[in-house]
């Protein structure tokens, strides 16, 4: 299970344990060092005491001694077994030794401290001679004593850890829990939210670390809200826009029923068919726009597209419509014009522009489509010989459902909205102008070299 609390707990416990153990180790060595000094001092002192006390006696006793050392029995302190001493004369013969000392010299050194191995065990030996050089005292103890003491100190430090760790664990668990409570509060707040409620979340008294998450969340909520709002508006607009075409259908049908003459009936029925075609076209445009709207941004599939090929296809499709109105439809383009884009969308864009041009151009007019490739930039232009768009309306025509006054042509008012949308997705710039000799409309789409 991936839990912040558990992670923190384990991490903190690990750090504490590691620190504790490191301290214990450090103290072991530090204490050991101090103990060494202390014991060395004691050793030296013992030697001096021995020399002072026994040396003198032994000198006197030597007159009637045959050289064999007397033993001194061990007793008392628990450490004593490991402390040993030897007293020798200037010839090296053993005069006196402790019970725990060996017979041979403990260390070869003439004076001072030395580390020696006696019977396989490490010893610390101190050698001291009297002023005349007649007596040599050697005092030694096993390192083991010192190690034990240092270890004992370190152990005393580690022992509490065993007890403290579970207690610490519980305390840390609670503390972390408390620290993470703002997260819990926010997640419960979000969980209780009504899906329709996209208002921002409360941000007061929120810790810095969570603040950025909260901010990002509120940002997302706002974007969602706007997207939903845009969709609602779109649906409302669409339904609204369909009313008039539907009204026309109903009325024409009723006129056909009440017709006073066959001619009138036929005219009404013809109008009815035109009306259905118009409503169909509008519905198609609405669907296209609806499919495009959510893609304002990221997830559009982009690939290398040949705009020239797309243009040829679109013109081929629309040629019959142009022919019916006796409009001259021409394409001027290089063999290929490649940009990075979405082929389907580009086809829709071209289709809408050329379709518009054909619709609004009167009979026997012209529609010219041209592709210009210049320094890696592709420019698409659609010119027609229709009424054009007056300058003051050029900004508004991209609004949905906006139609120019007096335009008899059965358009939906959505074509340019769709074109603008696709241009935006491709990061292409769109501009309107006048056609040849100031007549008609010129629509220019400039695709940047690395569109999107």
């Amino acid at each position: 299970m991936n839990s912040l609390r558990t992670k923190l707990l384990l991490l903190l416990l690990a750090i504490i344990s590691a620190a504790w153990v490191a301290t214990a180790v450090f103290i072991y060595f530090d204490a050991h060092h101090e103990i060494d000094e202390l014991f060395d001092a004691q050793l030296a002192q013992s030697a001096q005491v021995l020399l002072a006390q026994a040396g003198h006696d032994l000198k006197d006793a030597r007159e009637d001694d045959d050289g064999i050392a007397a033993e001194i029995g061990g007793a008392g302190h628990k450490y004593e077994r490991k402390i040993a001493f030897q007293i020798r004369d200037e010839h090296g013969s053993l005069l006196l030794r402790s019970a725990s000392a060996p017979v041979d010299a403990m260390a070869t050194q003439e004076s001072g401290f030395a580390d020696a191995v006696i019977e396989g065990k490490p010893w610390r030996v101190y050698t001291l001679k009297d002023e005349e050089g007649e007596i040599r005292v050697q005092v030694g103890e096993r390192h083991e004593v010192r190690n034990e003491l240092a270890a004992s100190v370190a152990q005393r430090l580690l022992l509490p850890l065993g007890v403290a760790l579970p207690v610490l664990a519980v305390l840390i668990w609670l503390a972390v829990g408390k620290g993470l409570s703002p997260l819990r509060r926010i997640s419960s707040e979000v969980a209780q939210r009504d899906p329709a409620n996209l208002a921002p979340l409360e941000g007061h008294g929120v810790p810095v670390e969570i603040a950025s998450l909260l901010h990002a969340l509120n940002d997302l909520l706002e974007r969602l809200d706007r997207a939903l709002e845009s969709e609602r508006r779109f649906t409302a607009d669409a339904a609204h826009e369909l009313r008039t075409p539907l009204a026309a259908l109903k009325i024409q049908a009723q006129v056909a029923r009440r017709a006073e003459s066959e001619a009138q009936r036929l005219a009404a029925l013809d109008n009815l068919i035109v009306g259905v075609d118009r409503a169909t076209h509008l519905t198609g445009q609405l669907l296209t726009l609806a499919r495009l709207e959510p893609t304002a941004g990221s997830t559009v599939m982009m690939a290398s597209c040949d705009v020239a090929a797309i243009a040829r296809q679109v013109l081929a499709d629309l040629a019959p419509a142009a022919l019916e109105k006796e409009i001259e439809l021409e394409l001027a383009s290089p063999a290929a014009a490649t940009i990075k884009g979405n082929a389907d969308m580009l086809a829709i864009l071209l289709r809408n522009l050329v379709d518009n041009a054909i619709r609004y151009t009167p009979r026997k007019g012209r529609v010219d489509v041209s592709l210009i490739v210049e320094q890696g930039r592709v420019r698409l232009e659609v010119l027609d010989s229709g009424p054009g768009i007056p300058e003051q309306e050029r900004q508004r025509v991209f609004d949905r459902f906006y139609r120019i006054l007096g335009s008899e042509a059965a358009g939906s008012g959505l074509g340019l909205s769709i074109v603008k949308h696709i241009a935006d997705v491709h990061a292409a710039s769109l501009s309107l102008g006048s056609g040849e000799n100031g007549i008609g409309l010129r629509v220019s789409v400039d695709f940047s070299p690395d569109s999107a």
């Binding site: 609204h240 826009e241 009313r243 008039t244 075409p245 539907l246 009204a247 026309a248 259908l249 109903k250 009325i251 024409q252 009723q254 006129v255 009440r258 017709a259 006073e260 009138q264 005219a267 009404a268 109008n271 035109v274 009306g275 118009r278 139609r403 006054l405 007096g406 008899e408 059965a410």
Partner: protein
């Protein structure tokens, strides 16, 4: 009766115009608010059918202008806007009735007749004048219980005279109510029609005031 239709959609406008003509009205059709203004300034209409969603001058603005000039011509609104707020706004701006698209042609005709009835000061649908009875819905005319056949133009003139009973209407005024913009007016058509009416309905009904026009006395 001459109506002004203000509708920008070509198919709907055509349908409504033909449909209302089928119902016996004469219809002038304009496609934007400015043109409507000019038409209203130029001629007298019995009623205006007005679409609110117009280019150039919105329907509501046109309505406010119309009422502002003191013009009381009945106005029936056609619109796609269906919220209560829109309805209230439309009626408060001076409309007399309201139809939401899509609507029924028969209902439109009936509502127009109702508005004309009220404008003519009548409450009952039937127009009764002495022995004369007219049902505007069916355009049936009966005199003393016996049905009378009238041509569309004769009917129209009779109706206008009866709606304006007690007032003399000049030849020009009668022509105005009979003919739309596209129609050819024969020079003495009105006299001919009056003549026919007198023949069919009796000579006392329609009086001639020399130099003024024709009138029908109040019942």
């Amino acid at each position: 009766m001459r109506l002004l239709l203000v509708e920008d959609d070509p198919l709907l406008g055509d349908g409504v115009r033909v449909g209302l003509q089928q119902s016996g009205f004469v219809v002038d059709w304009v496609k934007d608010g400015q043109a409507a203004k000019l038409a209203l300034q130029a001629g007298a209409y019995a009623l205006v059918v007005l679409d609110l969603g117009l280019p150039r001058l919105s329907g509501t603005e046109l309505l406010k202008w119309l009422r502002g000039t003191g013009n009381g011509t009945p106005v029936l609104i056609l619109t796609a806007r269906d919220t209560v707020a829109d309805r209230v706004n439309g009626l408060d701006s001076g409309a007399d009735d309201y139809l939401i698209k899509p609507f029924d042609l028969d209902e439109l005709s009936a509502r127009i007749r109702a508005l004309l009835r009220r404008a003519g000061g009548r409450a009952a649908p039937l127009i009764v004048h002495g022995q004369l009875e007219i049902d505007p819905a069916t355009r049936q005319v009966t005199l003393a219980g016996k049905p009378v056949e009238l041509s569309p133009r004769e009917y129209a003139i009779l109706l206008v005279l009866l709606e304006n009973a007690g007032r003399a209407l000049s030849r020009e005024q009668l022509e105005q109510s009979l003919y739309g913009w596209g129609d050819e007016v024969e020079s003495n058509a009105v006299e001919v029609h009056i003549h026919h009416l007198r023949r069919k309905l009796g000579t006392e009904l329609i009086r001639t005031l020399r130099g003024v026009g024709y009138l029908v006395d109040k019942a």
